[in-house]
Assembly symmetry: C2
Homo-oligomer: 372 residues x 2
């Protein structure tokens, strides 16, 4: 049996939203779930216990970053990523594919893999399906992602077709290279850009490999949200119902609702942690830009509906002061709030699905949150 | 009765070291004590609960910084500094004197006070004894420091004499301006540079005002440590035994031992928090510079004798990785360790005094710590 399995608990009565559970060697994950991102073996500005306390069940970490620094062999010698970073719940690692493709002029794609220069010191490296899996095996993540090529948006049909077919060939090589199937599971990634027939082709090819889970890649890459939603509408139908479905790189509240409604189980995004460090909070009343003068004498909490550590103990006036003073505590408190907000939101969504009121909950949320 | 009182519990049998207790409206403080610095209403990179958990009983905050940002009126409206920053134990605020004198060309000293330009936006301000007390009354700190002039080192006798006499006149004005004696206590500051007769003159003048506590200022300003110790030797004798004695701006382990040995009760310094952010840890085996290549594959704790959160959960290899990756968690974990180290050190010193083995403990510590 695969290290990671999916259990479908309930499907919404009116949408494709579903309530499930992903079992991993480091605990079970209630889905739909939002996964906080810990790129460099740390969820930025957070102690891992704080991430646990808010209810996060799985975090994401990054093969490209950890391969370059500190190096995957060091993480292996440390006893794996869980031990290295003091996180005993599940970890998903992405393959590094997205990061090396993002390097632009610093990389060259061949059938073998991607040759690139480090963004840290300019040194030359090669990331291939085999290398990505070797690194992820060393890290010991519960869920490993296939090394894929994420086509940009827009991209012409021919480019996207070649790219998805290479992604399939690379996926077979990833599966072949994977040496630790008892403790780690490999997820495939569907590509195909915004072309329905190519999405179908990609799905058929990767589903054929019978992996424990599948991601939808190549979305949230600059296309309009409405286009992403319409692509999602059919993508999910091409994936098996008995495997978890993961929409990569998505984390704004509206995209989470729309993704869940279309049958997505897993999400990740740097958005909540990144905007926190830039002084922006996600709240039940929409986004709050903490540096605004309006908050100078506002001694109320960031979010009147939130029960997180930040909202229980600090005022907007204090948070504004910290942000304007470049204090580290500003990043700590806003990150804590934003992650808590999304983790709690997903908990509410799960409860709503269980109670057959997902669409009602979505409307309630939007009514308060306002325009996205 | 003064808001802050001192209780002498025991004097060491061979040195001037003493075990005492300072009572404040926000709890009692076991002395000798090290006070972590939270300049801008936050101990940098720490949640206040973490500072409490390690046993810190009082923190220091800064009049100059809070006057400029967010402004003391905002802190007053927030319900005072304790509430604003979520810290329910004691707070000591310095007067802002040291900071405005440090501004160099940006300030002008007159009998009235110090005219200066903000380091943030260049705006013009005046800090005087009355203004400093007004700000500290608004902040609501338990212990307020007098607005003094800290002479530089070296400085000629005449300069130092004029400066200490002005400090005395300013102290009388501070005492006069203080409007909240039930809840806040004003400490005087002895000046006099490295001149014994001037230290004596200063002490006599300020002790005459019968304040609840006294600080020794104008040390640790660049003079050799041996000179500081020899000045301390006589300074303490000029201060009353029934009041707490506070040595300002001192926080390296050797200076703490030497200060305690000479009868000092209270210390503060940015050293542990500042060097933490620069990647240096204080440990029982001396300082550890975490970025050093020697730690790349060192999977042991920072300090084998430490039971802090950082040492219990993370390796030097991980801490090195975080520091080299510019991760905020690096500052969080190293700050936690360094503060814990000094707070625990002071606890050990208190215990040693109680058990009449202060000098033995000092020797044990130095033997392991190595050269300072």
């Amino acid at each position: 049996m695969a290290a990671v399995t999916y259990e479908l608990l309930k499907t919404d009565n009116r949408t494709k939203a579903r309530r499930g559970r992903v079992h991993t060697p480091h605990g079970s994950i209630e889905t739909p779930v939002f996964m906080p991102v810990g790129t460099a073996a740390t969820v930025k500005a957070m102690r891992p216990e704080e991430v646990k306390e808010m209810g996060a069940q799985i975090i994401l970490s990054n093969t490209y970053h950890l391969y370059l620094r500190p190096g995957h062999e060091i993480v292996r010698e440390a006893g794996g990523l869980h031990k290295f970073m003091n996180w005993d719940r599940a970890i998903l690692t992405d393959s590094g594919g997205f990061q090396v493709f993002s390097l632009g002029d610093l990389r060259k794609i061949t059938e073998e893999g991607v040759e690139f220069r480090s963004h840290i010191d300019g040194s030359k490296h090669m990331l291939s399906p085999e290398k990505s899996i070797e690194v992820q095996n060393a890290l010991g993540s519960d869920i490993m992602m296939a090394f894929d090529e994420c086509a940009p948006y827009p991209a012409d049909r021919n480019y996207v077709k070649n790219s998805l077919e290479r992604t399939t060939r690379w996926l077979a090589r990833c599966k072949e290279a994977h040496k630790n199937t008892d403790n780690q599971s490999l997820f495939g990634i569907m590509q195909g850009g915004m072309y329905q027939d190519l999405r179908y082709q990609s799905a058929m090819e990767i589903v054929d490999l019978d992996l424990p889970g599948y991601a939808i890649g190549g979305l949230s890459v600059g296309e309009p949200k409405e286009l992403m939603y319409s692509v999602l509408d059919y993508c999910v139908d091409y994936l098996p119902a008995n495997k978890p479905r993961y929409l990569m790189g998505v984390g704004s509240p509206d995209c989470l609702f729309e993704g869940v409604e279309r049958g997505i189980d897993m999400f990740d995004c740097v958005l909540p942690t990144r905007i926190a460090r830039n002084g922006t909070a996600m709240t039940s009343r929409g986004r709050v830009v903490i540096k605004n003068a309006a908050h100078e004498r506002d001694f109320t909490a960031l979010d009147p509906e939130c029960d997180c550590y930040t909202c229980k103990n600090y005022s907007k006036a204090y948070l504004r002061h910290l942000f304007k003073s470049n204090e580290i505590l500003s990043s700590m408190l806003l990150t804590n709030h934003n992650l808590h907000f999304l983790v709690k939101l997903m908990g509410n969504i799960r409860k709503a699905i269980e109670e057959d009121r997902f669409l009602e909950y979505k409307k309630e949320f939007y009514d308060k949150y306002g325009k996205f």
